[in-house]
């Protein structure tokens, strides 16, 4: 599955678009939207898994860009990262709130998963996708054991909770929590 991937070094000037938004220039917001909206909607769709909900996320995120562009601080990171993070967190807040509604607590989720019957619909492993990634992160991810790598990808790209990863990998919740934590530790160390 090698769909056309957006390059992480895309040449759009996110910094000046955000500066335009902070100066209340609607055309700057429009330019930002026209360039980035399909990538951002793609990120949101993967996390919330519903097209209409993802479009709501995109709407709310751009309204937030307009009202919060002046808080963007280039010293703390790139504008592209700021924008993508804003959309991801908007999407994650939505799915975590929904999960809180559907599954009152993690114990219950675990009790259900201990029946181990949900494995029948486990998702497919994203192994092939990892190769197309860019830079140091790709190298560091390749060095992780597959369960750690898959746990991190399922969480970041698909917005999976620990319980959902446990279902997909047909593994106990405790193991998944340990894989995620150790995987992140190894990534931090590898990327230093």
């Amino acid at each position: 599955m090698t769909a056309a991937l957006p390059s992480v070094n895309d040449h759009f000037d996110y910094e000046s678009a955000l500066a335009g938004c902070a100066a209340r220039d609607v055309t700057a917001l429009r330019r930002l939207y026209e360039h980035a909206a399909p990538y951002l909607l793609g990120v949101a769709v993967r996390i919330v898994r519903d097209r209409a909900l993802a479009e709501d996320v995109l709407h709310d995120a751009f309204v937030k860009v307009w009202s919060h562009a002046h808080t963007f601080d280039p010293a703390r990171g790139a504008a592209r990262g700021w924008l993508f993070s804003l959309v991801r967190h908007q999407a994650l807040n939505l799915v975590r709130d929904r999960l809180r509604l559907v599954l009152p607590d993690e114990d219950m989720a675990q009790a259900i998963e201990d029946e181990a019957a949900l494995a029948a619909v486990a998702g497919t492993a994203p192994a092939g996708e990892t190769r197309v990634m860019l830079g140091r992160l790709a190298i560091c991810l390749e060095q992780l054991d597959p369960p750690k790598r898959d746990s991190i990808l399922y969480a970041y790209v698909d917005g999976c909770s620990h319980s959902e990863i446990a279902t997909r990998l047909n593994a106990p919740l405790g193991s998944v929590k340990a894989w995620v934590r150790r995987g992140l530790q190894a990534l931090k160390e590898c990327m230093q």
């Binding site: 957006p6 990538y39 793609g42 995109l58 309204v63 509604l101 992160l137 530790q185």
Partner: protein
């Protein structure tokens, strides 16, 4: 070496990765503005993991999304660039609540008008008023079709949907935007159509959520979905 890994790293990395619960996410969001140390680590993790965003395939938004944004920030489509002052407090026209209110009022008026005209024009036969396609969340394969010829009755039709494994059941749920949680519409078979009367529920609404989840053979023991979502979709009003 992971000796410099501490509780703050756990929190920051979990926040950026997305594995924290809703309550933990709220806690981090509350602490971030006051704790530069936590903010620094969150920034580091955002930068480290950002390349993974490229794994999500782009999806082109519907034109109404931009129209909605323009409305929400107080800029109608026809007037893309009114000269607003660069400083000073925003005027009433920047009030999201106000514009949402006006937009909602206008939509309600047009729906009422459309309903009245519709009633007059074609009194007896009511065509299907809502349709929902329930698709698999991962690959968007359509699995079920819902037709509702009135807001009080709907028909669920399988389109080659996946059957439940042995000792499990498929359960059909719905939730409108303002309900506190999903309501069960019963267990379903992947090879059978099902007629459902919504007599104990509010009338069907535009955008109402429907889903089919995998549950224990007797259905969810707690009256809410417990298993994974196999198919999901929203009601679309057919005009």
């Amino acid at each position: 070496m992971s000796d410099d890994w501490d509780a703050l790293d756990d929190l920051a990395a979990g926040y950026v990765l997305g594995t924290l619960s809703a309550a933990q996410r709220e806690e981090v969001a509350r602490r971030l503005p006051q704790e530069p140390g936590l903010q620094d680590r969150v920034d580091d993790w955002e930068a480290r993991l950002h390349p993974l965003s490229a794994l999500a395939e782009p999806v082109t938004p519907a034109p109404r999304v931009w129209a909605g944004i323009a409305r929400s920030i107080g800029h109608a489509e026809q007037r893309p660039k009114p000269a607003t002052p660069a400083t000073g407090t925003p005027g009433w026209w920047h009030s999201l609540a106000l514009w949402r209110g006006i937009a909602f009022g206008a939509t309600a008026c047009s729906l009422l008008l459309a309903a009245m005209l519709g009633l007059r024009a074609f009194a007896p036969p009511a065509p299907p008023r809502y349709v929902v396609v329930l698709a698999a969340p991962q690959d968007k394969t359509p699995g079920w079709l819902i037709q509702a010829s009135s807001p009080r009755r709907l028909k669920l039709i399988p389109l080659g949907a996946q059957a439940a494994p042995t000792n499990r059941a498929l359960q059909f749920w719905t939730k409108a935007d303002d309900w506190s949680g999903p309501v069960s519409l019963g267990l379903v078979q992947a090879d059978q159509s099902l007629d459902v009367a919504l007599d104990r529920l509010p009338a069907l609404q535009d955008n109402q959520l429907f889903e089919i989840t995998l549950e224990p053979a007797a259905g969810s023991p707690i009256g809410r979905p417990t298993g994974p979502v196999l198919y999901i979709g929203r009601a679309v009003l057919v005009r």
